[in-house]
C-alpha cells in the first residue's frame, strides 16, 4: 500500500525527470535543425569550439543557479568576473612569470570576497538581492576601470594563457574546468547537507528556519559560490583573450541567468537542477554557434535568444 523503497538520495523525482527531459528534447531539436542547416555543424572540431565558447557562460550560470535556488538573483557576475580577471592578470604578465598560482588565487579570492559582500548584505542585512547585486554590478565595474586606468593588461605569461587555450588529451582546458565545476556542483547540491539546505531555504525559508537550519549562512554562502565561480570564469576569459580588458564581461550576467532559466530552475526558488543549467548554457551556445555558421547577423541572434528565454519560462508555467 503505502511505501516503495527510496531509489536514491539524489533529487530526481518524476516531475523533475519530465522537466529535464523536455529541456533535453528542446536541445536535440535545435541541434537537429542546425545540423540540417549547416553541414559543418556536426563536425567534431565545431563541437569542441561550441562547448568551449559555452564554458565561461556555463561556469557563471552554475554559480548563479545556487543563488536562484534560494530565491535570489545575482546580477553582478559579469562585473565580478572582470575585476577578478583584471587583478589576476596584473600578477601574471610576462615580467612576473612565476606568480601564476598567486594570480589565480588572487583572482578567485577577489571573486569570493565580492560574493561575500553580496551575501552579507542580502542574508544578514536583508537588502533585496536585486538591489544589492545591481549595486555590485556597478561598483565592481568601476573598480575594474579604476584598477586598470581604463586600459587593458596585455602580455600575459604562457603558463597562465594555458588555462584558456591549452588542451589535455585534445580537450580544451576551459571545457575540462566547466565539467569539473559541474560535477563538484552536482555532488554538492545532491549529496551534501548544504545542497539540501539550499533547496529547502529556497522552497520555504520559514520552514527551513523552523527545521533548525541557519538560513542566513546558507543564503550568504550561495553568493560566495556565485562570486567564486565568477572569479574562475574571469580567469578563463582573460587567459583566452590573452589580455584583461576593462570592459570584459559586460552583459554576461544576462546570458548566465538565461541559461539558468532555460534550464528549468524556478525564479521562485527551491526547484531546479545543475543539469538543466548546463543544458541551458549549451542551448545558448548552440544557437550562437549555429547562427554564426548560417551567417545570421548577431543582431538577429539577440532577438532569437530573448524570445527563447521567454518561451522557456512560459513553457515552464504550463507544466505547473
Amino acid at each position: 500500500m503505502s511505501t516503495i523503497a527510496l531509489e536514491r538520495s539524489g533529487s530526481f523525482r518524476a516531475g523533475e525527470m519530465i522537466r529535464q527531459f523536455s529541456i533535453v528534447l528542446v536541445f536535440l531539436l535545435i541541434v537537429a535543425f542546425f545540423s540540417v542547416a549547416s553541414p559543418y555543424f556536426m563536425s567534431w572540431p565545431n563541437w569542441l569550439n561550441l562547448v568551449r565558447q559555452s564554458s565561461i557562460n556555463g561556469i557563471l550560470a552554475i554559480g548563479v543557479t545556487f543563488v536562484i535556488l534560494t530565491k535570489g538573483i545575482d546580477l553582478s557576475v559579469g562585473s565580478v568576473m572582470a575585476i577578478s580577471g583584471m587583478i589576476a592578470a596584473s600578477l601574471v604578465t610576462e615580467t612576473n612569470e612565476h606568480f601564476v598560482l598567486i594570480g589565480i588565487l588572487a583572482g578567485l579570492a577577489v571573486g569570493a570576497g565580492l560574493g561575500l559582500v553580496n551575501g552579507v548584505l542580502v542574508a544578514a542585512i536583508k537588502v533585496p538581492p536585486f538591489v544589492v547585486t545591481l549595486g555590485m554590478l556597478s561598483v565592481a565595474r568601476g573598480l575594474t576601470l579604476i584598477f586598470s586606468q581604463g586600459s587593458p593588461i596585455p602580455n600575459l605569461s604562457d603558463a597562465y594563457k594555458w588555462i584558456g587555450s591549452g588542451q589535455v588529451v585534445y580537450i580544451p582546458v576551459p571545457i575540462i574546468i566547466l565539467f569539473l565545476v559541474f560535477i563538484i556542483g552536482w555532488v554538492v547540491l545532491n549529496y551534501t547537507t548544504f545542497g539540501r539546505y539550499v533547496y529547502a531555504v529556497g522552497g520555504n525559508e520559514k520552514a527551513a528556519r523552523t527545521s533548525g537550519i541557519s538560513t542566513k549562512v546558507i543564503v550568504g554562502a550561495t553568493y560566495v559560490i556565485s562570486g567564486l565561480l565568477a572569479g574562475l570564469a574571469g580567469l578563463v576569459l582573460t587567459a583566452r583573450t590573452t589580455a584583461a580588458l576593462p570592459q570584459a564581461g559586460i552583459g554576461y550576467e544576462l546570458d548566465a541567468i538565461a541559461a539558468v532559466v532555460i534550464g528549468g530552475t524556478s525564479l521562485a526558488g527551491g526547484r531546479g537542477s545543475l543539469l538543466g543549467t548546463l543544458i541551458g548554457a549549451l542551448i545558448i551556445g548552440t544557437i550562437n554557434n549555429g547562427m554564426d555558421l548560417m551567417g545570421v547577423s548577431s543582431y538577429y541572434q539577440q532577438v532569437l535568444k530573448g524570445t527563447i528565454i521567454v518561451v522557456a519560462v512560459i513553457a515552464d508555467q504550463f507544466r505547473k
Binding site: 500500500m1 533529487s11 547537507t193 539540501r196 520555504n204 520552514a207 523552523t210 533548525g212
Partner: protein, 510 residues
C-alpha cells in the same frame, strides 16, 4: 449623467416558505481517469437553513461542491435549482443561477476600500468613464447596513480583520443575487470572537431566505450554526437530518465510519521532573511576564483568543523570535534565545500553526522534508549517507502511517492530514523531549484528529512533554493536563484540565 451599472440591491425572498427546496442533488457521480471520486452525491438544501456538509478527506465533498459550482461537470445524477435541472459550464454560469462560493483563500484587493472591492468591475460611472466614488460609497454602505453587517465601506480592505473581509465577500456574493452561498472552512484563519461575528451574519442572511452550505472540520461550530447536516463518506451519501437530533459522537461515527474511541487523559505524575521552565518571559507588545512550567509526562494546553500572544509565546520559546525579557530553561540548561537550531539540539521540536507557510517545504519530497531537521546526524563531513536517510524515512513513513505512492513525491501533492504527519515525522526524527504544537489539527478531518490526539498523549506518557495551543476548547480540554489561559499578552490563569469546561475557558479568555 449616465449610470452604466445597476444598483446592487438586497434580494427579497419570501420568508414564509422556509421549507422551499433551493437546491436538490441526487446520485451525482464523478470519476477522474476511471477512479471514482464521487459515487452517490446527495444534498437537499432548504431555504433559510445552514446546511453542514460533513466528511473526512476523500469523502467527495470537494468534488461535489465543485460540481455544484460549475467548476467540474458531473458524469451522472441530477442537480436541480428551484426545481429546475441545471448543468453548469462555469462558475460564472453557477453565479447566474444564484450560487456563490466563499473559499478559504479570499482574494480582496488590500489597497482598495470596501466599497471599491464590492463594486470591482462594475463601478457606477459619471459620464460613462469617471467612477462615481461618492455614489459607490453610499450604495455600498446602504447595502452593508441592510444586511446588518458592521463594516465601514470607506475603510481599506487591508485594515479589516479576516472575519470582516469574509463579511464583505459574502455581501459581494449576495449583491450578485446569490441565494445559495457555499462556505468552505470559513473559520480556519479567524479567532473565536470573530467566528461569532460571522455566525451572526450568517443568521441574518438565512433569515432572509438564503441558504448556506457550510463545510468545516470543526464540529463545535457545526453544532452551533448548522440546522441540518449531510454526511459523505468514500464518495457516497451516508446520512442527512436535523442537527438537533444527533450528538457529537454520532456525527464523528458517521464521518469516520466506525466507533471512535476518544482519547483518555493520562494521570499526571506526582513530582515528575520539570522539563521546561519559562520565567518572566516577555516579547515587546506581544506578551509580558509569563512564567510557565511543563513537567515530563505532561500535556500543557494554552487557550486564548487570536492576538492573545499565544502563538508568539510558543514561537519565542522555540527561538523563532528573540524575547525582550525573561529566561527559558530546558532540561537543566539555559536556552539560547532566538535560535531554533539550539532549541532542536536541546530536544525541542515545533509543529507550527500553518503547515504551508512555515511547516513544510512544499516543493521538496516527503523524504527530504522528513529528514530536514536531522540531516546532520545522517551525514559524514557534510555528505549525506543515502542508506541511513532511506531507512530513517522508511521507518517514519511506516510508524506515522503516511499514505503515499513513494517518498519521492512532493509534499504539495498530499492531503492535509498526511502533510501534518510529515511535519510530525520531521519533528520526531530529532528525538525531541518536548513537542510544541500550534493548532496541530487545523484543517484536518476527524479521523486524523483523533490519531493526532492519541499520538500526543502517547508521546507524553513516555516521559516527554507537550505544549499545545488550540482555539478549539473541546480539543484543549480533551488533551491537556493543565490549561494556561492567555488574555491580551498575559497569563491570567492556569486551571486543571479535568475541571475545565468550555464556558470557563471562554469566560476567562475573553
Amino acid at each position: 449623467m449616465v449610470n452604466a451599472t445597476e444598483k446592487i440591491k438586497v434580494q427579497t425572498t419570501a420568508q414564509s416558505s422556509s421549507a422551499r427546496v433551493l437546491l436538490r442533488a441526487e446520485g451525482v457521480e464523478k470519476s477522474f481517469n476511471g477512479v471514482p471520486a464521487l459515487v452517490d452525491g446527495r444534498l437537499t438544501l432548504k431555504a433559510g437553513t445552514v446546511h453542514a456538509l460533513c466528511g473526512g478527506n476523500g469523502a467527495g465533498k470537494s468534488t461535489f461542491l465543485n460540481i455544484a459550482m460549475g467548476l467540474l461537470r458531473r458524469d451522472g445524477g441530477i442537480v436541480e435549482i428551484d426545481g429546475e435541472q441545471v448543468d453548469f459550464k462555469s462558475a460564472a454560469d453557477a453565479l447566474r443561477h444564484g450560487i456563490a462560493i466563499i473559499t478559504q483563500e479570499l482574494s480582496p484587493v488590500p489597497e482598495m476600500t470596501v466599497a471599491e472591492n464590492l463594486y470591482l468591475g462594475r463601478e457606477p460611472k459619471r459620464l460613462g468613464v469617471l467612477i462615481d466614488f461618492s455614489q459607490m460609497r453610499r450604495d455600498a454602505q446602504a447595502f452593508l447596513d441592510e444586511l446588518g453587517f458592521e463594516v465601514d465601506a470607506t475603510r481599506k480592505m487591508g485594515e479589516l480583520s479576516l472575519a470582516q473581509i469574509q463579511l464583505v465577500e459574502i455581501a459581494k456574493a449576495l449583491s450578485y443575487r446569490a441565494h445559495i452561498v457555499i462556505m468552505d472552512e470559513p473559520t480556519s484563519a479567524i479567532g473565536e470572537h470573530e467566528v461569532h461575528v460571522l455566525f451572526n451574519a450568517l443568521r441574518k442572511i438565512t433569515a432572509r431566505g438564503s441558504a448556506i452550505v457550510y463545510v468545516s472540520h470543526k464540529l463545535t461550530e457545526i453544532f452551533e450554526i448548522a440546522d441540518e447536516y449531510t454526511v459523505f463518506r468514500d464518495g457516497r451519501f451516508i446520512e442527512t437530518g436535523n442537527i438537533k437530533d444527533i450528538d457529537r459522537r454520532h456525527l464523528v461515527t458517521q464521518i469516520v465510519g466506525r466507533e471512535v474511541k476518544l482519547v483518555e487523559r493520562g494521570k499526571p505524575l506526582e513530582d515528575a521532573p520539570i522539563l521546561l521552565s519559562v520565567s518572566n518571559l516577555a516579547r515587546g507588545s506581544h506578551f509580558r511576564d509569563i512564567s510557565l512550567d511543563v513537567a515530563s509526562g505532561e500535556v500543557v494546553g494554552i487557550y486564548g483568543l487570536l492576538g492573545s500572544g499565544r502563538t508568539e509565546f510558543l514561537e519565542t520559546i522555540f527561538g523563532l523570535h528573540s524575547p525582550t525579557g525573561g529566561e527559558i530553561v530546558f532540561d537543566g540548561g539555559k536556552v539560547k534565545p532566538g535560535s531554533p537550531k539550539d532549541a532542536i539540539q536541546r530536544g525541542m521540536a515545533m509543529v507550527t500553526e500553518d503547515r504551508k507557510d512555515s511547516g513544510l517545504v512544499l516543493s521538496a519530497s516527503i523524504a527530504h522534508n522528513i529528514t530536514l531537521s536531522s540531516l546532520a546526524l545522517m551525514a559524514i563531513s557534510g555528505f549525506i549517507r543515502g542508506d541511513k536517510e532511506r531507512s530513517a524515512v522508511q521507518d517514519m513513513i511506516v510508524s506515522q502511517r503516511i499514505k503515499s505512492a513513494s517518498p519521492d513525491v512532493a509534499v504539495e501533492t498530499l492531503s492535509g492530514g498526511n502533510q501534518q504527519k510529515v511535519v510530525l515525522a520531521r519533528c520526531l526524527l530529532t528525538n525531541p523531549k518536548l513537542l510544541i504544537c500550534d493548532e496541530p489539527t487545523r484543517g484536518i478531518d476527524e479521523g486524523s484528529k483523533q490519531e493526532i490526539y492519541a499520538f500526543l498523549r502517547d508521546f507524553a506518557a513516555k516521559g516527554n512533554g507537550v505544549l499545545v495551543v488550540s482555539s478549539e476548547a473541546p480539543e484543549i480540554m480533551q488533551l491537556s493536563d493543565r490549561i494556561a489561559i492567555f488574555k491580551q499578552g498575559q497569563l491570567v490563569n492556569v486551571i486543571d484540565g479535568a475541571e475545565a469546561s468550555q464556558q470557563t475557558l471562554m469566560d476567562l479568555a475573553s
